[in-house]
């Protein structure tokens, strides 16, 4: 199929193979080059410093945005998980929010005092860490359960089955009122507590100030909690990408049949992609439950899945840094920019007397903006802002690839069905001459 053509035509320098045989993406090569420039290195260091100290900066500069920044981090984590399924393994999952819901509800059911599972003899009940591990395991299980029947499906049919699954899960949570209280939602979900006695560290993330700092510091442990989980996820995903299973994911993405012929086990590879993607979503779901302290079925609908997909596609399928950028842009726009921009436009509108601008509310247009982002990205830059080089090659239209391939392999020769040009005839003749010379030289020996 077209994918095979695409993989053959390597863009120059698309994939660098290091001496250990591991693939290193072009972005990382570029990053390495960028870091040689001291200005860039300083800028990147500054960015890292901002990320590491953001809660303090937020308080110091009086930004009051930390309650927006933590959900942004959460969405980025979810997008990273979706990237495993869609970006690495190429399985379009339109029901990813279902795993997020499963993780959040698992944590809620295992920790909330309102939960019907709140039995006196359950020793671990209410412990966030236990609930988080359970959310991880249950989400993997859900991923495999969904993955198993879809193994035979490809492309758009797979997308529809995952979409159906993503629709069924909220319906179940909404209607199973005995378990989840349906529309009323579940509240008072357990929050993590860190108690390291011998270091004298003992604080919970339950919303009280830490280290004797002001009220703002209630968000501080959550920020670092998400940051640590994010760092672990990035580390783990990067290792996975270069691992045997990661390469198998990319192989089935490029050509399932060829991968299978090369000995890639399609069943375990696909299931591991689903399980891996779902597990991250489950963990984030548990963290979401603890952070918001409330779960409601409406948080896990189709639009959540599509916004995450939007982030992955905008940033660049299959590239961790791209996905982080995409998730950041989408959520930054949704949570911070839209509000600020609305105020800005309204001000301009009132000053210039333009009624449309004075009353516009960008928050009401978010679906339009996300939809338009998806369409425009597909039309203009299907590989995303920071593309993964191999993925970009696959997404190039078929005809262009074939043409590029022919030209790359035989410069000066015309493609099939094209009249030979004088230049190509000349090139062919000179090639024959070279061959004849070679032959005559061999005869002489």
């Amino acid at each position: 199929m077209r994918n095979r053509n695409a993989t053959k035509s390597r863009a120059p320098g698309a994939v660098a193979v290091s001496s250990t045989g591991l693939y290193r993406s072009r972005t990382e090569e570029a990053l390495r080059n960028i870091l040689h420039n001291p200005v860039n290195a300083v800028l990147l260091g500054l960015l890292l410093a901002v990320v590491l100290t953001y809660p303090f900066l937020d308080e110091w500069l009086n930004l009051k945005r930390i309650t927006d920044v933590i959900p942004i981090m959460m969405y980025i984590l979810l997008a990273l998980g979706l990237n495993v399924v869609v970006g690495y393994a190429g399985l379009l999952d339109l029901g990813y929010a279902a795993f997020f819901a499963i993780g959040a509800y698992t944590a809620a059911l295992l920790t909330s005092p309102q939960s019907p599972l709140n039995l006196p003899n359950m020793q671990w009940f209410g412990n966030f860490w236990f609930a988080m591990v359970m959310a991880f395991l249950v989400a993997i299980l859900a991923g495999v359960v969904l993955g198993a029947p879809t193994l035979r499906l490809r492309g758009d049919y797979l997308a529809i089955v995952t979409l159906g699954f993503g629709e069924i899960v909220p319906v179940v949570f909404r209607n199973a009122t005995d378990l989840t209280y349906g529309e009323r939602g579940l509240g008072a979900i357990g929050r993590p507590a860190i108690d390291i006695g011998f270091l004298g560290i003992n604080f919970d993330l339950g919303g009280s100030p830490v280290f004797g700092l002001g009220n703002w510091s209630t968000q501080l442990p959550w920020y670092y909690f998400f940051l640590i989980v994010g760092a672990l996820a990035i580390f783990g995903l990067r290792r996975l990408q270069n691992s045997r299973v990661g390469r198998a994911w990319m192989a089935i993405r490029e050509d399932e049949i060829a991968a299978s012929a090369m000995g890639v086990n399609l069943v375990t590879t696909k299931l591991s992609a689903f399980g891996m993607g779902a597990s991250l979503s489950g963990v984030v779901g548990a963290m979401y439950g603890g952070y918001i302290n409330f779960v409601h079925p409406s948080a896990f609908e189709f639009s959540t899945s599509v916004i995450l997909l939007c982030a992955v596609i905008l940033g660049g399928l299959g590239n961790i840094w791209g996905v982080i950028l995409g998730g950041f842009i989408i959520q930054f726009f949704d949570r911070i920019m839209a509000g600020e921009l609305t105020g800005f436009l309204n001000d301009i509108g009132t000053q210039t007397g333009n009624e449309f601008l004075a009353t516009i509310e960008l928050g009401n247009w978010r679906f339009f903006i996300f939809g338009a982002a998806l369409v425009i990205m597909m039309l203009l830059r299907p590989q995303g802002l920071l593309p993964n080089a191999r993925r970009a090659a696959e997404l190039r239209p078929e005809d262009q690839t074939i043409q590029g391939e022919v030209q790359a392999e035989a410069p000066g020769f015309a493609g099939p069905g094209i009249e030979p040009t004088p230049a190509s005839v000349q090139a062919r003749e000179s090639l024959y001459e070279v061959r004849e010379q070679d032959d005559s030289m061999q005869e002489k020996r």
Partner: protein
Amino acid sequence: MILRREQGGRSSLTSLLPALITVVGLIALIVYFIAVLGWAAFLQTFLYGLTTGSVYALIALGYTLVYGIIELINFAHGDLFMLGSFAALTVLQLTVVGKSPAFPLPPWIALFLALVLPMLFCAGLNVLIERVAYRRLRTAPRLAPLISAIGMSFILINIGLWWKGPNPQSFPALLSVFGSENIVNNLFGTNEVRFSYKELAVILTTIPLLLLLNFVVFRTKIGKAMRATAQDREAATLMGINVDRTIAFTFLVGGALAGAAGLIFGLYTGSSHFLRGFDSGLKAFTAAVLGGIGNLSGATLGGFLIGIIGSFSDRLLGSSWTAATIFGILIIILVFRPTGLVGEQVVEKV
């Protein structure tokens, strides 16, 4: 995939077995429903299902036409249907609703306009969508147009939200011009089962449209071009068919059906909502898949089946579970028989 009327014959016993199991299972289910509900309630549920099913069939045909010709799941189709219902509502509001509408017209003419104008509106909009969001992606990998279609669906949802606001919009009870007499009572003298002229009107509006579509696809020149394009786009080009125009025409036809469905469904259920397109669209897509996507008679059959299944699910499990039931069926069909009930087996080309 081919827009074909005839299906290839499958004769061997092993390939008949799944069909046999399905039929036996269906009969068992019907017997069970009759036992639980009783004859009257069973028939009633069935008739309601048939009525809504005819509307699903109209929407499902839009999905199946487009899939048949360019193998794209046109995600935006359900939302097009929603915009069609809004357009119909706007026409009705301008002509008959309230004490002094802007352009007062007799109900019959208003109904006719509310059928024709949304059909034209949706047809035009669908052609525009194809031109903007899909045409350039025709040679791209299959996921690219699919994602573009999801984006388009979101855009249409937002347009619907902007047009009529977030609250459900109620339609005028215009179908009562057909009379609310119970036909069953007139014919058989029992009021246990209701089937009024309202339901009959829905079915009697959809069936001519279905027949018209059948005529266009199988009896006209442009229909022949559509089938040729569906079979092999390149060969069709070589035979002098304007492929771009044929595909645009397919979107035009699908859009017109969605517009008609918008009016009929709005009047029958009495309301519309900007998110209606998403769930009705998904149900109609399920219908198209159930019948075998790309197959016209399959989509019609699937539409009626989904309507009936939904109606029984409403009755037995409660309407809040209906979406889950239908999507469950969708998953089961896609997993076990992706070609649908009447679809032909298509070997995936490498």
